[in-house]
């Protein structure tokens, strides 16, 4: 099967800190992929490199079969990709509708399509009644929903979602989950990070676990289920939490 994401020795340093250490990632097209890891493991750094927000220190990346280090190819790839970055990407002084129109046009969509999708996305994200509000007045959850809408508007073949459910209310979260499932059903690939293992367990068909910048586990959810363990067990085992010596904190016991 074709690979939607492929990295070879992907590395990123921040001074002396090795944030991502020779990552070899393979994500098949049409997969709902959960990218997990403890805080500071390198998840967001990886997504930033894969989406072109951050340059890698070393290594190669192929997105949808194209090398994105090639600048001309990079723009072609971006046309087929939607992203919800860790730090949201919004213009403060535009309304939600204006922002979506802007993104739709920049992706080269015809105006009637932009309008139609804008209406649907705003309604589905419950942002259609906030017509006068500028995005700078939005709460974090509303900003997140708008960024999600912007990622969906070009109907991409590949979606990168960094903590997409964080700060999103339960109703929108349900709608979003269904929407993402539909995307995968039509053949798109979803690559998401989340700290909520239950969501990943319920949605994803494959998972990768990163710890200290290294990919320590990669398998399908079916494999995990067949082995009789839960995702949480596998996660804790992979990140080595059982090796962490617990401090006694005896003073807490009085």
């Amino acid at each position: 099967m074709a690979l939607a994401i492929e990295t070879n020795g992907l590395t990123r340093r921040f001074g002396s800190l090795l944030a991502v250490d020779g990552l070899d990632l393979r994500v098949e097209a049409g997969t709902f992929y959960g990218f997990l890891g403890p805080n500071g493991a390198g998840k967001s750094t990886t997504i930033k490199m894969l989406t072109g927000l951050l340059a890698p220190t070393a290594g190669a990346m192929h997105i949808l079969g194209e090398p994105i280090s090639d600048r001309r190819k990079a723009l072609e790839v971006k046309r087929r990709v939607g992203v919800v970055p860790e730090d949201l990407a919004l213009f403060d002084n535009l309304t939600a509708r204006e922002y979506l129109t802007f993104v739709g046009r920049m992706y080269g969509l015809p105006l009637p399509t932009v309008r139609e999708r804008c209406e649907e996305l705003l309604a589905i994200m419950d942002l259609d009644h906030e017509d006068k509000k500028l995005t700078l007045e939005y709460s974090h959850g509303m900003k997140k929903k708008l960024t999600l809408a912007a990622a969906l508007i070009p109907n991409p073949d590949l979606l990168f979602l960094d903590e997409p459910f964080e700060g999103v209310d339960a109703v929108s979260s349900r709608v979003l989950r269904d929407t993402l499932k539909r995307c995968v059903q039509r053949g798109a690939t979803v690559f998401l990070t989340s700290h909520v293992l239950e969501i990943v367990e319920r949605l994803c068909t494959a998972v990768g676990i990163i710890a200290n910048g290294k990919l320590v586990h990669q398998s399908t959810m079916d494999d995990i289920r067949r082995s009789g363990s839960s995702l949480e067990d596998r996660f804790l085992e992979a990140v080595g939490s059982d090796q962490v010596e617990r401090q006694k904190l005896s003073w807490l016991e009085g």
Partner: protein, 587 residues
């Protein structure tokens, strides 16, 4: 709060400041240490100098002289103090109360620490020791009642700082709403700029009146008389009299009045003033404290009419879908560039800081332009007129340099969206440039209209200028694209203020501004060569000016077209570095 907590909070404050200095790189660190060191030395030097001047030089000075000196000192202090407020308006309190209230400290204790810490500014370090030293010096030199000047000066400082603190608290309350926050910042900045230019404008206005008087008198020999001794004696007394009234009526000038009264041996005004400034300071502080309590209890008035969600929802449902500005196409412009242009234009026009900055530039151009042009009642010589018109274009662009040479700084987080877009980067640059075109056209158009009528420009000069304007726009857009990509800097939301730029970037920004006149040299070539051609008898100046302006426009249009793909490629190459700069928020 015990001394250990106080020490911890001071330690925290110091570490926050130090980390801020360190983050800007070694050059920034060195510059910050130098400025802080110089500030302390100057402050200490000011105290000693004030003491010496008061004790040794002004022992016999007339009361009016003391009043004048104090008024000047206070005026300078207030000017820089206000400038400090404007630049610090966006900063939260020294120690954000919300971040420490879960600790075992009371709101009142944190409030007072913050108030005390609000004195630790460069302006206070530079001015307050000098003012207090001067008051102490006068007390030493003149002795007796003058000793009362020291508590008066302290009370005055207390009054100013307490009310400033109150004002800041009030502004913070107003700025709870992020949209209003930007309006507040922009209005305060704009008011300060206008206020600081007021003496200049008044000087020009009254200066003009005085200049014109002798010319009127020249026509009437009967008025050519030397002023009588009476008039001469009365004239210096009339100004101080008015000034004295201002000193009584305006609390900000009370120190000078107190010093004058004490020098005259009149103790009661000084005592009343001392009591008054302490009372007013106390009231200011009390009000600030109450505002702080209201703010943290959530009782602060946000203002504006509450809009219920249902109302908005119903309105949204019943509203027909209109074609918004962002859906429009621009003839002859690629669709992506048009979308970028319209989004950026709308963004800029909704940013109060940009509107205020543009309005300030425009008003300044109008004020000073009108003064310059209208002063010359006899009119300008024909040879100068083309240069005046071209000079006006140049000045217009000078006011827009911050926008044209920093295309991504105002995007902040929005630049992330640009990086993620599949759009060719040349279209992004083209869109950004096009967004500025209507702004340039409006300001330059109004200025040119004024110049055309005021200087009575010949039609050929007007036409030449109409060609030079787009030529200059294309030239500066090309240069601005390059500078924006190579030296980007983040602009704080709600202000035109760069956010703690590294020293090297600040230097480059300074050099860019410095080199601006050199960049504008090409548009002065057509009028210059026109003049040369007419002097040599080759061709009339107006025709040459017009022809060369047209040539210049074609040349710069070609230059823009040729450079744009390269600059787009450079943008794509550097976009991750730019993203780092424009989204990096420094506390």
């Amino acid at each position: 709060m015990d001394t250990s907590q106080l020490r911890t909070i001071l330690w925290l404050r110091w570490h926050l400041t130090r980390n801020q200095w360190y983050r800007g790189g070694w050059l920034n660190k060195a510059a910050s240490f130098f400025v802080a060191g110089a500030g302390i030395v100057i402050g200490f030097g000011g105290a000693v100098a004030g003491l010496l001047v008061g004790a040794l030089v002004l022992t016999k000075a007339r009361p009016l002289v003391l009043l004048g000196i104090w008024d000047v000192l206070v005026g300078m202090f207030l000017f820089f103090w206000m400038a400090g407020i404007v630049s610090d308006i966006q900063r939260s309190e020294t120690i954000d109360i919300g971040r420490v209230l879960h600790l075992p400290v009371s709101l009142r204790q944190v409030f007072f620490i913050n108030y005390i810490a609000s004195h630790l500014t460069l302006v206070a370090i530079l001015f307050l020791p000098g003012m207090l030293g001067f008051a102490a010096g006068l007390a030493l030199g003149r002795g007796g009642l003058m000793v009362l000047l020291v508590p008066l000066a302290i009370g005055f400082i207390f009054m100013i700082t307490a009310w400033t603190y109150c004002l800041r608290g009030w502004l913070v309350t107003l700025m709870i709403n992020p949209r209003r926050r930007r309006v507040v910042i922009a209005v305060v900045t704009f008011s300060f700029i206008l206020l600081s230019q007021l003496p200049n404008l008044l000087g020009h206005t009254f200066g003009r009146g005085r200049d014109s008087q002798p010319s009127a008198k020249e026509t009437s020999p009967s008025t050519e008389q030397t002023p009588s001794p009476d008039t001469t004696a009365r004239r210096p007394a009339s100004l101080p009299r008015a000034w004295q009234i201002a000193n009584i009526a305006v609390p900000l000038l009370w120190v000078g009045y107190g010093a004058m009264s004490l020098a005259q041996g009149n103790v009661w005004p000084a005592l009343w003033i001392t009591a008054g400034v302490f009372l007013m300071g106390g009231l200011g502080l009390r009000r600030a404290y109450r505002s702080t309590i209201r703010f943290y209890e959530g009782q602060a008035k946000e203002g504006g009419r509450p809009r219920t969600e249902d109302k908005g929802r119903i309105a949204a449902q019943s509203r027909p879908i209109r074609t918004s500005l962002l859906e429009k196409a621009l003839p002859g412009v690629p669709d992506e560039a048009a979308a970028m242009a319209l989004a950026y234009f709308r963004s800029l026009m909704r940013a109060p800081e940009v509107k205020m900055a543009l309005a300030t530039n425009f008003l300044m151009l109008l004020f000073f332009g009108a003064m310059f042009l209208l002063r010359r009642s006899s009119g300008f010589e024909d040879v100068i007129k083309p240069f005046i018109a071209t000079g006006a274009i140049s000045l217009t662009f000078f006011g827009l340099i911050q926008l044209m040479f920093n295309l991504f700084g105002y995007d902040r987080g929005g630049f992330r969206a640009i990086v993620l877009l599949p759009t060719p980067r040349r279209h992004i640059l083209l869109g950004k440039n096009l967004a500025l075109l209507p702004i340039v056209a409006c300001i330059a158009g109004a200025v040119q209209l004024l110049v055309t009528f005021a200087a009575r420009l010949p039609i050929l000069v007007v036409l030449a200028t109409a060609l030079q304007l787009p030529a200059a726009f294309l030239l500066l857009s090309t240069a601005g694209n390059l500078v924006s990509v190579v030296v980007p800097y983040r602009v704080a939301p709600g202000s035109m203020k760069p956010t703690k730029v590294p020293t090297l970037t600040a230097l480059l920004m300074f050099v860019t501004h410095l080199l601006f006149p050199a960049a504008m040299v090409p548009i002065f070539l057509p009028p210059g060569l026109g003049l040369l051609a007419s002097r040599l008898g080759w061709a009339p100046a107006g025709a040459v000016n017009l022809a060369l302006s047209a040539l210049l426009l074609v040349l710069f249009a070609l230059c823009y077209r040729v450079c744009l793909p390269g600059l787009g490629a450079l943008l794509q190459q550097r976009e991750q570095a730019i993203l780092q700069v424009v989204t990096h928020e420094v506390e």
